[in-house]
Symmetry: C2
Subunit: 276 residues, 2 copies
C-alpha cells in the first residue's frame, strides 16, 4: 500500500494512493495516521474519503514533523571508497531537525551565497517508523517499520565540515526533500536490491542499489533503539552512495535553477528545483 501527505485548502491531509488517485484520509498527515495505533495500515487502507487526482496534487513532506530524524553516514560501500574512508563498525548516526524537510516537488531553498554555496546532494533510502521500537533485535526493528521513502539529504559541505560535527551543514531550513510516498514493506524489500538514481539537470550523478548498504535498515534501527525509543513517524535516512558533488574534480554544487531528480525503484521519484 502507498500513502502520502498532501496539501489542501484546509491544511495537510494523509492520503492513500490508488493508481492515479489520492483518497483523502481523516488524518492531518502520515505521521498522525501512523500514531493512530498498531493497526494503522488496516485503518488507512479501509478508510474512504474525497478522491483527488494524484497529478497536480501538491505533496507535503511525507512526515512533516518527525520527533526524530536520524541520518547515517558512510554506509554505502562505494561512497566510503570514494571518500577514502573505511566503513565503520557501527553506524555513524547524526541528526537533522524537522524544519529542514520539504515536500518532494517543493523548491529546494538555497542559502544566500554569502552563507553557503557548497550545496550538495545525497540520495538516500528513507525508513519511516510505524510502531515503537526499543531494545529491538534487527528482526523486531523491522516489524516496527511502517515503510520506505526517498530522502535527499542535502548538505552544505562548508558548514558540515568546518567542525568535527556535521549537524550544522545537515539541517539547513527547507533543504531536504522527503517523499513522495510511504510504501509499505509488503510491496518492497530493500535487502533484495532496489535501483537508486539521482540526476542533476538530467545528468546522472548517483546510481546504486539499496543492497549496497553496508549496515542494513534493520540493523541501523536496532542500534538506535538501544539509545532511544523510535516512535511512529520517526525518519531514518540510511546513508548515501558514491557520486556526491563535493568529491568531484572540480567539485559540483547546486545553483539557482538546477533540477534534482531522485528515484528509487518501487518508491517513485521526487523532483526539486534549487532556488535562491
Amino acid at each position: 500500500m502507498r500513502f502520502t501527505t498532501v496539501r489542501t485548502a484546509v491544511g495537510t491531509k494523509a492520503a492513500r494512493v490508488e493508481g492515479e488517485e489520492l483518497v483523502l484520509l481523516p488524518y492531518a498527515d502520515v505521521s498522525e495516521l501512523l500514531a493512530s495505533g498498531e493497526d494503522w495500515q488496516a485503518r488507512g487502507g479501509a478508510a474512504d474519503g474525497e478522491r483527488v487526482p494524484l497529478e497536480g496534487a501538491e505533496l507535503a513532506p511525507l512526515v512533516p514533523r518527525p520527533e526524530k530524524i536520524f541520518c547515517v553516514g558512510l554506509n554505502y560501500r562505494d561512497h566510503a571508497a570514494e571518500a577514502n574512508l573505511e566503513l565503520p563498525e557501527y553506524p555513524t548516526v547524526f541528526a537533522k531537525f524537522a524544519r529542514a524537510l520539504i515536500g518532494p516537488e517543493d523548491e529546494l531553498v538555497l542559502p544566500d551565497p554569502s552563507i553557503s554555496t557548497w550545496v550538495d546532494w545525497e540520495l538516500e533510502l528513507g525508513v519511516v517508523v510505524g510502531s515503537p521500537i526499543r531494545h529491538a533485535s534487527p528482526e523486531e526493528a523491522l516489524a516496527g517499520v511502517a515503510g520506505y521513502t526517498i530522502v535527499d539529504d542535502i548538505s552544505m559541505r562548508d558548514w558540515q565540515l568546518r567542525t568535527s560535527q556535521w549537524l550544522a551543514g545537515k539541517t539547513f531550513e527547507a533543504s531536504t526533500p522527503v517523499g513522495p510516498f510511504l510504501v509499505t514493506p509488503d510491496e518492497v524489500d530493500p535487502t533484495a536490491g532496489m535501483a537508486m538514481k539521482l540526476t542533476v539537470n538530467g545528468e546522472t550523478m548517483q546510481e546504486s542499489s539499496t543492497d549496497q548498504l553496508a549496515i542494513g535498515a534493520a540493523e541501523v534501527l536496532s542500534y538506535i533503539s538501544k539509545i532511544v525509543t523510535l516512535v511512529p513517524g520517526d525518519l531514518i535516512a540510511t546513508g548515501t552512495m558514491a557520486g556526491v558533488g563535493h568529491v568531484r574534480t572540480p567539485p559540483v554544487y547546486l545553483t539557482d535553477g538546477d533540477l534534482v531528480e531522485c528515484s528509487i525503484e518501487g518508491l517513485g521519484s521526487q523532483t526539486t528545483r534549487a532556488r535562491l
Copy 2:
C-alpha cells in the same frame, strides 16, 4: 522573573515562581507560554492561578519537547585545554532529541550495563529561545532569548566516541536534566560571570564561570540562526567546562545511586540521582 514547568494531577502546567510559591498558569508548559506570543513575559507575569508550594512540587523538564536542541562542544577555555583540543573558530554544534530530557529532580536513567557504563556529566548553561531568531546579529539573537537555565548534558562516552559523530552518546532516553527555572535576562547576565558547580556525591567535579565561554550565547544563537530559524522553546546547551569524568585518571563514571548536583549562580540548582 522565574518560570518553571510542574507536574500536576492533570498533566504539566507552566508556573511563575514567586518566592517559595508557584503560581500555576493556563499553559501546559513553559514552551506553550513562550509560543503564546511576543508579550509572553508580560502575560506570564500578570496571570493569576492556583498557588502551590515550590517545596515538594514535582518539576518536569523545563521545556519538555523543544523542536530543536542544539548543544555546543569544546566551548570553555579550560575544558578544551583539559581535552587537549584547540578551541574551534566556529561553534561545534550537535543535536540532542527531546526524548532525552528529564526534570531537574528526576532519576537519571542509566542504560543497562551491557549497553553502556561510561555515563558522564557535563554541566552547561542552557539558553531558551523566546521569539523567532533568523539571520540575526548577536545583539538581535540576544533579544530573542527568553531566559537561562541549567542543563546537564549527560554523555555515554563509549557511544559518543565510537564514530566521528557524537549524537549516539548524547541522546540516550531520559538522561538529560533541564531546569529547574527559566530565569529572564533582566535578572541574570552570563557574560558578567555566573559561578557554576557540579558535584557527584558531594565531591566537586566541575567548577567554572559562565564568563569562561569561548563563544558566548549571543554569538552561538546568531550562528545557528544562519542555518535554521530558532523558535520559542528551542534549547541551546552552550558547552561544558573542565572536570568531566572521562578524562580523569582513572576515568570516573556515574553508577547506580550516585547523586549529581548542578548549580549556576542565579539559576538555582538541580539534583538528580542515577538509577539503573
